[in-house]
Amino acid sequence: MPRRIEILTKLSAQLMRFLFSRSAENLTIDVNSSKDQISVLIKSTVKLTEKDVELLEGYLRVESHEEMAYYYLPLAGEYGSDEDLMLISMLVNSVEINYDKEKSSLRIGFVIRSQ
């Protein structure tokens, strides 16, 4: 499996796990793939505390360390702890997170470029 598809599936799966374990009501994933990059938009209705949002941002907007991520990537998704999000995020090129607390609406966009 090409590496960028592995990153896409693992990160989407871990985000679903994170959000559904926090009572997400629904979730949609919109994926656009081109030769140069894959862009993903995840929308969810979920009630998150400030701490949850902070945690999510901490895991997704992580300092890049591609070499570490490549070594440990096979572990991501194995029993799925929250730290897995951090590991996969190291291989993502850009991340945007928007949370509307009043509407309980979360939007996460990320881009994975071809190596």
Partner: protein, 415 residues
């Protein structure tokens, strides 16, 4: 930027401190003797247990260890890699084991093998550098093969190097595969991989009539000098961490909320200052444990302490380490070995590889993991004949593979 520079300075400084200590304890006044000691360290068989302090004196052992740490840190810099918790874990582990098995001669073929693998894959070497660092655990195989192979002289050296390069070549894929076997609950993953490799190598050697002799070179009587040095290092780590953290311990409670399961890079997750504090604290705790239990500070035990300190930037903290220590201690006072025998103290120091079990499933399971680990680690050394320096990483992998499914069945998550 400044913080990133600081991280590198600290990583270098541990190696330089070791060299300085080695020079001040004799090397500076007797350079010829230091050279002889280093040659002695490089030429003796170095499978478990070979305490370099006994072989080459405090001076030789610490200069060997410091040199390797500085060279390995420089290689990371050369490859433009950021200094993270993983960097501290692998450099300090290499440095710790350079007090009892790794030396400036036997680590290179593994690195070369991994480098050739990266060329073969057409990918940068930096992507595999960490595996190669941890993979030096199999270094004793290089010297042991030299005795086993049916050639002599230079051919012997070259051939043993070639075999080690081949092992290094396949190490990356094996390590990646074995990660999923213990699901990241064994922090010393490459130790588990090298245990498997060592087991196969030892099996071949024995099948063809070569018996790997058992070995226990263990120094004693240096507790005062070595404890002063170790406590000084850990005081400096804690002090600078505290200072950089705005003269407080703020954030330490948050750091201890992480289970420690791979991958928990504390520098990335919680920042450098609080990670330094954790490293210092863990160093104090482990050194005190060695002294209080009546053990010796020597190559293997300081190696164990340094490994814990390195991994205190990459998964270990008091909350997930103490239950393991309690489990090992319960086993140590009830099993047939004395509390201050190498078997028990090494199980305590290196058994903390299972800290993520305590971190994720709670302290009771941590105590059980430590208890089980002590029994297992005392029985798996024979399998690889001491060719894998990370014997506890090998045992820890087996314990995690056995315990984690059982814990999950019995815990809420499994129901």
């Amino acid at each position: 930027m400044e913080r990133k520079f600081l991280r590198r300075v600290f990583l270098y400084s541990v190696g330089f401190f070791f060299i300085l200590f080695g020079l001040l304890t004799g090397g500076l006044w007797h350079p010829v003797q230091l050279w002889r000691n280093l040659v002695e360290i490089v030429t003796v068989p170095d499978y478990l247990l070979t305490d370099y302090i006994e072989i080459g004196g405090i001076s030789g052992a610490f200069v060997n260890s410091g040199l390797l740490m500085v060279i390995f840190t420089f290689l990371l810099q050369l490859l433009k890699l950021p200094v993270t918790g993983l960097s501290f874990a692998c450099v300090l582990t290499v440095g710790g084991f350079a007090l009892f098995g790794k030396n400036i001669f036997n680590v290179w073929p593994i690195l070369l093998g991994v480098f050739l693998y990266s060329r073969y894959r057409g990918e940068p070497f930096s992507r595999y550098i960490y595996v190669s660092y941890f993979g030096t655990a199999i270094a004793p195989l290089v010297t042991q093969l030299a005795f086993f192979l049916p050639v002599s002289g230079l051919k012997q050296v070259i051939l043993s190097y070639v075999v080690a390069v081949v092992i290094g070549f396949f190490l990356t894929d094996l390590a990646a595969h074995f990660l999923t076997a213990h699901k990241g609950y064994n922090l010393y993953n490459v130790g588990f991989t090298c245990g498997m490799i060592g087991m196969i190598a030892a099996a071949f050697m024995r099948t063809y009539g070569y018996e790997i002799p058992s070995r226990k070179v263990w120094s004693s009587g240096n507790n005062l000098l070595l404890s002063v040095f170790m406590f000084l290092i850990f005081f400096l780590l804690t002090y600078y961490g505290w200072k950089l953290n705005g003269r407080s311990f703020k954030g330490y409670k948050k750091l201890m909320k992480h289970s420690g399961r791979l991958v928990s890079d504390f520098i990335i997750l919680e920042g450098f200052p609080i990670t330094l504090i954790n490293m210092g604290v863990m160093g104090f705790v482990m050194t005190l444990y060695v002294i209080v239990t009546g053990n010796q500070l020597n190559g293997p035990t300081i190696g164990g302490i340094m490994t814990v300190v390195g991994f205190a930037a990459f998964g270990k903290h008091p909350k997930n380490v103490l239950p393991i220590l309690i489990g090992v201690t319960i086993s140590a006072v009830t099993n047939k070995y004395a509390l201050n025998e190498p078997n028990n103290i090494l199980a305590a120091l290196f058994g903390t590889t299972l800290a993520p079990i305590a971190g994720e499933f709670g302290p009771i399971w941590g105590v059980i993991a430590g208890f089980v680990h002590t029994a297992v680690v005392n029985n798996v050394g024979f399998l690889h004949g001491g060719l894998n320096l990370y014997n506890n990483g090998f045992a820890g992998g087996l314990v995690a593979m056995f315990l984690v499914p059982l814990i999950r069945v019995l815990s809420k998550e499994g129901k």
